[in-house]
């Protein structure tokens, strides 16, 4: 289970918070408090994706051992469903909007809202479901997605968008046939976006030849990059859960999948979060230790006191500089954001321009009256893919920018922190930890971007909005049936009508592209801005903390001169005790961060 996996981290962070509060550093305590919340509610997303009617919903139901996602022979899931742990069964519809509109519905009515073609008004953007299942208690969130419907469809792009913020992907394919080309292609892309992908081969109870299919699929999967393949049977698992039959459960193949979900996904994520928490505590310890050790040095060695005060003054100036707009990291961030906005916008425009040209050519070749639904489908798919490309571009560039900013910040702050550390009497950390910290700085830098991106896309499927925009009607196709009858002499009229339809089609298509460009341009600008704000706030906060640490250290060091001898001895003893305690905390944090 993933819950105990983060328990040591939680208790360590709690200890850190206690220490910070005791030393009067509420700012640092607040920082650890945020980490604490993240540990308590980790939200690990596992996206279940695959073609239509492969048994995705059944797989989730069988995995959870309860009927959550509606299953039907005919209609397929149309709305992504997020299943998480909760004390009671609840279902909430989330509609697009700012802020998103949420509406609680009866759990039993869920089917009407998430399956295709339900006539219950506007379709929600996603559905949040909670169920009291132990397997989810560690913070796992299972995401049931609509079928991808062939590579190149808008659905597939939406699926990939969901995958880009997921922690793991379970790709579902049934044992009726080997993986198709589009499935393999989808898997390849999914694997690039999310490193943890597992392929579940469903319905092995029904298809006698499933072992052959499994072997064929294993061959295809090797081309994608050695993804694990797990044959499972959802009906067997459901039966096993009902009858509490362990043997049947093993036969269903689910224990492997459960193990994968809990250990590799849940466990992996827990370990990552524990390491993060350890690193944060370590950073906090560094600041506190620096603060106390400067004071201790000044006390123990009165001759050095003035030099220490001078050094601390220099450090303080540096940290203060870090807080101003002229600081290098801040300049990098501002310039980088401007560049990023321009580049992303150009990339989007370029893509849309290419699509428009292509669509124009396509319309010239066909009669829109026959092909309009296909054109629509094609256009939507094409745009989804390019939006996904644009988004990936944004994501990559934002991560690069974040790394740059982090580099510049740590370069500058490192001096100040180093100056604090000089007075550290005992070298507590080995050299290795320094390297580790650089790695860590990078990691947290990437994390800042992901936080911003996740809040932008909310783990929901941004591309679902495309559907609602595509309400372009192709004018009246009320060409008289006489024309269709193809009598001679009407050929010219026929041609004229065709030209008119083509012009109409092109216009509609352009309007649609404009709309898309406008909406997603705004969306990506907002996202970049959100990334910028996130980074700015993050580093400003760090600078503030550092500032306070140096200021406290400086005040304490200055005070030492005023103290009496007895007072000094007493204070020295106190400080040594504090430093030992901090050292212990630090040791634990180091261990956790390096695990």
């Amino acid at each position: 289970m993933s819950e105990p996996a983060t328990t040591p981290a939680t208790s360590l962070v709690d200890l850190g918070i206690k220490a910070c509060t005791a030393y009067g550093r509420e700012d640092l305590a607040a920082r650890l408090g945020r980490i604490r919340t993240g540990l308590a509610d980790p939200a690990v997303h596992i996206v279940v994706a695959g073609e239509f009617k492969q048994g995705k919903s059944s797989l989730i139901n069988a995995l959870l051992g309860t009927a959550v996602c509606p299953v039907d022979d005919d209609v397929a899931t149309a709305v992504p469903t997020f299943v998480r742990h909760g004390e009671e069964k609840t279902a909430t519809l989330v509609y697009d909007g700012n802020p998103p509109r949420r509406e609680q519905v009866e759990f039993a009515d869920l089917r009407g809202h998430v399956v295709e073609g339900s006539a219950l008004g506007a379709r929600p953007a996603r559905v949040d479901v909670t169920v009291p299942r132990k397997i989810l208690a560690g913070g796992l969130v299972m995401v049931d997605t609509p079928g991808v419907g062939g590579l190149g469809s808008a659905h597939a792009a939406a699926g990939l968008a969901a995958i880009s913020v997921a922690d793991a992907v379970v790709f579902v394919t049934d044992a009726a046939q080997e993986l198709t080309r589009s499935e393999v292609e989808f898997l390849r892309q999914a694997h690039e976006l999310c490193p943890t992908v597992v392929c579940a081969l469903t319905k092995i109870d029904f298809y006698p030849a499933w072992r052959r299919i499994r072997d064929l699929n294993a061959g295809h999967l090797r081309m994608v990059g050695d993804l694990p393949l797990m044959p499972v049977s959802s009906p067997l698992r459901a039966r096993a859960v009902r009858a509490n039959d362990q043997k049947l459960n093993v036969e269903s193949g689910f224990p492997d999948l459960v193990k994968f979900v809990q250990e590799r996904v849940g466990g992996g994520a827990a370990a990552r979060r524990s390491a993060d928490a350890g690193a944060e505590v370590l950073a906090v310890c560094d600041q506190l230790t620096g603060q106390f050790s400067a004071e201790r040095d000044a006390l123990a060695n009165p001759a050095n006191a003035q030099r220490i005060v001078d050094d601390l003054n220099t450090a303080k100036r540096q940290v203060e500089e870090l807080k101003t707009a002229a600081a290098r990291w801040s300049v990098t961030l501002n310039d980088g954001t401007a560049d990023l906005t321009a580049d992303v916008d150009f990339d989007l425009r370029d893509r849309i321009r290419k699509i428009t040209t292509e669509a124009d050519d396509a319309i010239d070749e066909v009669d829109p009256a026959d092909m309009w639904p296909e054109m629509e489908e094609w256009l939507r798919a094409r745009i989804s893919y390019d939006l996904l490309g644009n988004y990936t571009f944004l994501r990559r560039r934002a991560a690069e920018l974040s790394e740059q900013v982090a580099g510049h910040f740590h370069e500058a702050s490192g001096k100040a922190v180093g100056m604090l550390k000089v007075y550290n009497p005992t070298p507590l950390v080995e050299e290795r930890a320094v390297e580790h910290r650089i790695e860590l700085a990078k990691m947290t830098a990437g994390k800042q971007v992901m936080v911003a991106l996740k809040s932008a896309y909310g783990g929901a499927l941004m591309f679902t909005m495309l559907g609602s925009l595509m309400g372009v009607a192709l004018g009246p196709i009320g060409i008289g049936i006489g024309v269709v009858m193809g009598h001679r002499g009407l050929k010219d009229e026929k041609k004229r009508q065709l030209e008119k339809r083509r012009a109409q089609g092109k216009n509609a298509m352009r309007r649609y592209c404009d709309e898309i460009s406008f909406v997603s341009g705004k969306d990506s600008r907002d996202t970049v801005r959100r990334v910028q704000r996130q980074l700015r706030d993050h580093y400003t906060r760090l600078a503030e903390e550092l500032n306070r640490s140096t200021a406290t250290a400086l005040a304490a060091a200055t005070d030492t001169a005023k103290r009496s001898q007895a007072d000094r001895q007493k204070r020295l003893k106190d400080l040594d005790a504090e430093l030992t305690r901090l050292g212990q905390l630090r040791d634990r944090a180091t261990k956790l961060a390096q695990a």
Partner: protein, 491 residues
């Protein structure tokens, strides 16, 4: 003159015009095709059960079927006096006769060292009652992992030039995908009538898998097929959608006494142990040794029936222990949906054979006169256009296509009647007039007269919108034709 006679006349004229131009052979080919059985292509995505359905229709296990991707070459199955396999190379050149063996029924062809990529098509001649009605064409699936295999299917059904080698197509779908629609559209021509749901029937194949082998799987499949058939996008490209459990249909058509004996052993079990045994395919093979069947026999049974087939057949045998092998085969054929498919094929394809054949021939002539003009060819082109524009069956098809495309609005009841009268649901008189199959001649005649009056009124009513008035005139012709036929029959 009937449509076929007019088409033949146009062909004769074309033969005169193109004599000695190197196209004699082409025209002879088109003319020969006019008299051949209807060519029905079986198309669909990869692994949709095309070869299995072909076997079921022929009632013989000719085409090899397998869990992996199997059909890689376009294969024609036609009736003939002898058993023969001919290979047509891709690069052109003379067709070659190949050696073949029959392995457990399926025809195993020895390509004689030629790579499948270099083969254009295989021609299998087989004396068979079923093939006398229609030549069947098995195609590789689209969406196959190997690009080349799927391109081959495209070339057959949707070649760049307009005449398609097939007169009609059975399109197998498992669930409606975007790809499917694209494929169907490419199949439909644009000149004679468009878009054309006239020469395609959709088959919801592997129907037993929709309910993952539950006993009520076919009921579920039937519901889905009905919904698909009513869907606007599907209506534009296929006439109707029929669910078929292909494997079961194939097995029912070729059922052996041994298999029935084995099934009786399963049917002899109590309900509870039978359910446990048939819970999964693996269990059926490996558990309950006292059943008295070897694992090889059980695997063979699974391969032939599938889990659904065994569940269904054993249930049927348990309900009625007296059922004979023939009775069981008939029951299974009915349950598999094959009977219904054959009825639909009869009323939508075979009864319309002449129209479909003439259409293919006229399309070929149209292409020829357009791409290879010659002195005298404009007259041929004019004759073709004249036939295409005036022949009543084509007008019916065109109105039908317009209806299907949703371009013709009106009261639902009127539109429905229109579709029926012009033969959209089948061309037999009782179907057109919405009467039971056993309706007497008098009943048919009076219904036809009433329909005639009704449509005349609609055609002449000044308030009728123009499109509907044109369509109504076509319906009037259909009614007149019906009456003439009925009177002719009476006399």
């Amino acid at each position: 003159m009937t449509l076929v006679e007019r088409t033949r006349a146009a062909l004769t004229r074309a033969a005169g015009v193109y004599r000695g131009s190197g196209f004699d052979e082409r025209i002879a080919e088109v003319r020969a095709r006019l008299d051949e059985p209807l060519r029905v292509a079986i198309a669909g995505r990869v692994k949709s059960g095309k070869s299995t359905l072909l076997n079921a229709l022929v009632a013989d296990r000719l085409a090899p079927t397998d869990a992996g991707e199997c059909t890689r070459i376009v294969t024609w199955y036609r009736d003939g006096h002898t058993y023969r396999v001919t290979l047509h190379p891709r690069a052109g050149g003379a067709p070659r006769q190949l050696r073949f063996t029959r392995d457990e029924g399926a025809v195993e062809v020895d390509l004689g060292g030629i790579r499948p990529e270099d083969v254009h098509s295989l021609d299998i001649t087989w004396p068979s009652q079923a093939l006398r009605r229609a030549t069947l064409i098995d195609t590789p699936g689209i969406g196959s992992l190997s690009e080349r295999v799927s391109r081959r299917a495209w070339e057959l059904i949707a070649p760049d030039d307009e005449e398609t080698p097939a007169d009609a197509v059975l399109y197998l779908m498992r669930h409606l995908h975007a790809n499917d629609l694209e494929f169907l559209h490419a199949f439909h021509d644009t000149e004679v009538s468009r878009p054309n749901p006239v020469n395609a029937i959709g088959v919801l194949s592997r129907a037993d898998e929709i309910g993952v082998g539950r006993l009520d799987a076919m009921a579920s499949a039937r519901r889905i097929a009905a919904r698909l058939a009513g869907d606007g996008n599907v209506r534009r490209v296929v006439q109707t959608v029929v669910p078929v459990a292909g494997l079961l249909a194939e097995t029912a058509a070729t059922l052996t006494e041994t298999e029935v004996r084995h099934l009786r052993a399963v049917a002899g079990l109590e309900v509870k142990p039978a359910e446990e045994l048939l819970l999964t395919a693996d269990r059926f093979v490996n558990t309950l040794p006292e059943l008295g069947l070897t694992s090889i026999e059980r695997e063979a049974l699974l391969a032939r029936f599938g889990l659904y087939g065994i569940r269904l057949a054993s249930t049927l045998l348990r309900q009625d222990g007296q059922t004979t092998a023939t009775g069981l085969a008939r029951e299974l054929t009915d349950r598999s949906g094959l009977t219904e498919l054959q009825e639909v094929l009869g009323s939508l394809f075979f009864e319309r054979r002449d129209v479909l054949k003439a259409r293919s021939a006229l399309l070929a002539l149209d292409t020829l006169t357009r791409t290879r003009p010659r002195s005298g060819s404009p007259a041929v082109a004019a004759e073709v256009e004249e036939i295409v524009a005036s022949a009543h069956p084509f007008n019916e098809l065109r109105v039908l296509a317009t209806l299907r495309a949703g371009w013709l609005g009106g009261k639902p009841a009127v539109v429905e009647e229109l579709e029926r009268v012009i033969g959209g649901t089948g061309t037999a008189p009782h179907i057109r007039l919405d009467l039971p199959p056993d309706a007497g001649a008098g009943q048919l005649r009076s219904a036809a007269s009433e329909a005639l009056v009704r449509w005349q009124r609609r055609a002449e009513n000044p308030l009728t919108v123009h499109e509907m008035a044109v369509a109504a005139r076509v319906a009037v012709r259909s009614c007149e034709g019906l009456l003439a036929d009925l009177n002719g029959r009476a006399r």
